[in-house]
């Protein structure tokens, strides 16, 4: 096992193997992973992060592949994070997004990492934020994040991406599906892929109407693409960077940065306080006993939670102080 120093230095030098190792460390929450993330943090904030989300089979992987190729043509280095679902039964996963990302053979300017959700909801894995920071610190100019593709609730990506591309295809649902809250609301750019399919013009027109009617400020552009042939990918790329210019010229970029910084802190507080409370209670068999009483309706969840916070709060505070030193 290599030391934290070696990993951090390797990542900052852009070394592929060190980056890959660091990602594993963060994903598995191995000893030292927090130190790695702490030390690379000053070197983050340079990459532009684009999220692609949408139902399975709409062509996200192929689009990511083509966007990466386009970005390489402009001299940008690319990091790709592709998330696939973990089986709820076995805990295993088949991560198959690389099958459609084959345009970068022999190009060290494209780093692809597949992650399994490992039980996390919302279309990403728990490690996603850390992985994006590592790729950023390793000098990747553009980071493309492909979500699982379960469809309607993949809003997690908003936290990490500067631009969210929602990918749809014609024939997946009527207008009612479209105006449902959730995935369409988070789109900064809409992409109608497989645009040779019947009904694509109609779908694009519906989306345009939706885009015009709902938002204030930025009106999400609608782009038609055929990822496989590459048609329309240049327009998609331009739409993404149009959004970037918009964010940078208004106060919205700052707003997003602040929002994602707060979400980052919240995550860590939850990790430190919530996980530690439950771990301590579990270790002392207090949790088991409490759960028994809860299911027997002898107490209620609010009482139980307060009880645990009272019992372990001061101990956790001391642990946090220890970390801070």
């Amino acid at each position: 096992m290599r030391s934290v120093d070696e990993i951090v230095n390797g990542v900052l030098e852009g070394d592929t193997r060190a980056l890959a190792r660091a990602i594993t460390m963060v994903e598995n929450e191995r000893e030292g992973y927090e130190q790695v993330l702490e030390r690379i943090y000053p070197h983050t904030g340079k990459a532009y992060v684009v999220g692609l989300t949408g139902a399975p089979g709409v062509g996200k992987s192929t689009l990511v592949d083509r966007l990466a190729k386009f970005a390489r043509g402009h001299g940008h280095s690319v990091g790709i994070l592709a998330v696939d679902p973990t089986s709820p039964f076995s805990g295993g996963a088949i991560l198959g997004d690389r099958v459609r990302m084959q345009s970068h053979s022999g190009d060290p300017g494209v780093f692809i990492r597949s992650l399994a959700t490992r039980g996390q909801l919302g279309g990403l894995s728990r490690a996603s934020g850390g992985v994006i920071q590592l790729m950023d610190a390793a000098g990747r100019d553009l980071i493309l994040v492909e979500t699982v593709g379960s469809g309607q609730s993949e809003v997690e990506i908003m936290r990490y991406a500067h631009t969210v591309v929602v990918v749809v295809i014609a024939g997946l649902g009527d207008e009612i599906q479209m105006i449902k809250a959730g995935i369409l609301e988070i789109g900064d750019v809409f992409c109608v892929n497989k645009a040779d399919r019947e009904g694509s013009d109609r779908t694009a027109a519906d989306l345009r109407m939706l885009a015009d009617s709902c938002s204030k400020g930025w009106i999400p552009p609608v782009v038609k693409t055929q990822a496989r042939s590459g048609e329309g990918v240049d327009q998609l790329y331009q739409a993404i960077f149009g959004h970037r210019q918009y964010l940078e010229s208004t106060g919205d970029m700052r707003h997003r940065q602040l929002r994602s910084a707060e979400a980052g802190i919240r995550d860590i507080i939850i990790e430190q306080v919530v996980d530690r409370t439950l771990d301590l209670a579990r270790a002392e068999q207090v949790l088991d006993e409490l759960l028994e009483r809860l299911t027997a309706r002898q107490t209620n969840p609010y009482q139980a939670a307060k009880h645990l916070l009272n019992a372990y709060g001061s101990q956790i505070l001391r642990m946090c102080e220890g970390d801070a030193e």
């Binding site: 592929t16 193997r17 890959a20 190792r21 990602i23 594993t24 598995n28 929450e29 191995r30 973990t86 089986s87 039964f89 076995s90 805990g91 295993g92 996963a93 088949i94 991560l95 198959g96 690389r98 099958v99 084959q102 053979s105 022999g106 780093f111 692809i112 990492r113 597949s114 399994a116 490992r118």
Partner: protein, 130 residues
């Protein structure tokens, strides 16, 4: 939490990947994370994917008969990237007389036609900690 990560790859010109898919599913069902990269991968592609994905296991599926050329090339590319220490498995149509050569080249196990997927799972679990 640690999970065993396996790259299942098909070098060379095989026309189908049914066997590789069956193995990939069996490994998933055994709780592993399987990175599958599809047909016609070059040895460089496979080694690069193994490094980027930081897998502990690489499994090649080869039906074409080109294993004696392809396998050493993949191993060479892995070693060139500092990833020569992965558990390295080969499956597919491999004649008995070639097994010795492949093992001497650095292959840890060869799984021919008729191998039970349980045996593959068992072999990986006994050699890699998840």
């Amino acid at each position: 939490m640690e999970r065993i990560r396996v790259l299942v790859a098909k070098p060379g010109l095989d026309g189908h990947d049914r066997g590789a898919r069956v193995v990939a599913r069996a490994l998933r069902d055994a709780g592993m994370e399987v990175i599958y990269t599809g047909l016609r991968q070059t040895p460089e592609d496979i080694a690069e994917a193994a490094v980027q994905e930081d897998v502990q296991v690489v499994g090649l599926s080869i039906l074409s008969g080109a294993h004696n050329t392809l396998v050493p090339r993949v191993l060479e590319q892995l070693r060139a990237r500092g990833a020569g220490n992965v558990l390295f498995l080969v499956g597919g149509i491999i004649p008995e007389e070639d097994v010795e050569f492949l093992k001497s080249a650095g292959v840890h196990a060869v799984f021919g036609p008729g191998t039970s997927t349980d045996d593959i799972v068992e072999f990986i679990k006994s050699h890699v900690k998840g």
